[in-house]
């Protein structure tokens, strides 16, 4: 079983601050997905990264897949209260998905 480690586990910041969360593994992935989960809801896919070194941007969110395809990062610029939620990374390329434990982000107005 591939193990995905996410850090930090919790993050509490003020509106307007920047932040980066990480997803690391000792295994190589063919693809990696980032999800955001809000309380009482299921996770919603934000992005899938496939190519080593790939960078994808989604408004104020920037996702990067490591060159060796073992790690990924999510950077949020000028965080807003609407960014509050649990950010999960998940491995792809296998029919048995593995999720990290997530980073719980709270953005205070």
């Amino acid at each position: 079983t591939q193990l995905l480690k996410q850090s930090p586990q919790f993050l509490s910041i003020q509106e307007g601050e920047n932040l980066t969360v990480y997803c690391n593994s000792s295994s190589v992935f063919s693809s990696l997905q980032w999800y955001r989960q809000e309380p009482g809801e299921g996770p919603v896919l934000l992005v899938t990264v496939v190519t080593g070194g790939e960078v994808k941007k989604l408004k104020r969110l920037t996702f990067q897949f490591g060159d060796a395809r073992k790690d990924s990062s999510l950077h949020i610029t000028a965080a807003q209260p609407g960014d509050t939620g649990l950010y999960l990374c998940a491995s792809g390329g296998s029919y048995i998905p593995t999720f990290g434990r997530g980073t719980s982000l709270i953005v205070h107005p």
């Binding site: 063919s30 299921g42 899938t48 999960l88 999720f99």
Partner: protein, 115 residues
Amino acid sequence: GAGVSQSPSNKVTEKGKDVELRCDPISGHTALYWYRQSLGQGLEFLIYFQGNSAPDKSGLPSDRFSAERTGGSVSTLTIQRTQQEDSAVYLCASSRSGDLTYEQYFGPGTRLTVT
């Protein structure tokens, strides 16, 4: 179009009772997944269906757990003789294919509380 729906949204049951959780996937999605999410834990994979078949049941935590899918659509997860440690949110997701480069669409989950 309609997303993934799950019922009930909340279920409180007494220890030892059986419960059935239902998942209605997005129409046309061949892959269906069940997960369990406990407080402070990540999503624990339980079982995956491709069509009506479950190629891998190794994620089911014990023989008290079973799942079926009929008509390539609705799935039910059954927990027999529930225990307090079964308390969690049970999430269902569907996907166009079992290839995980495709997006999984999640339902809102069923919160199970065993008293």
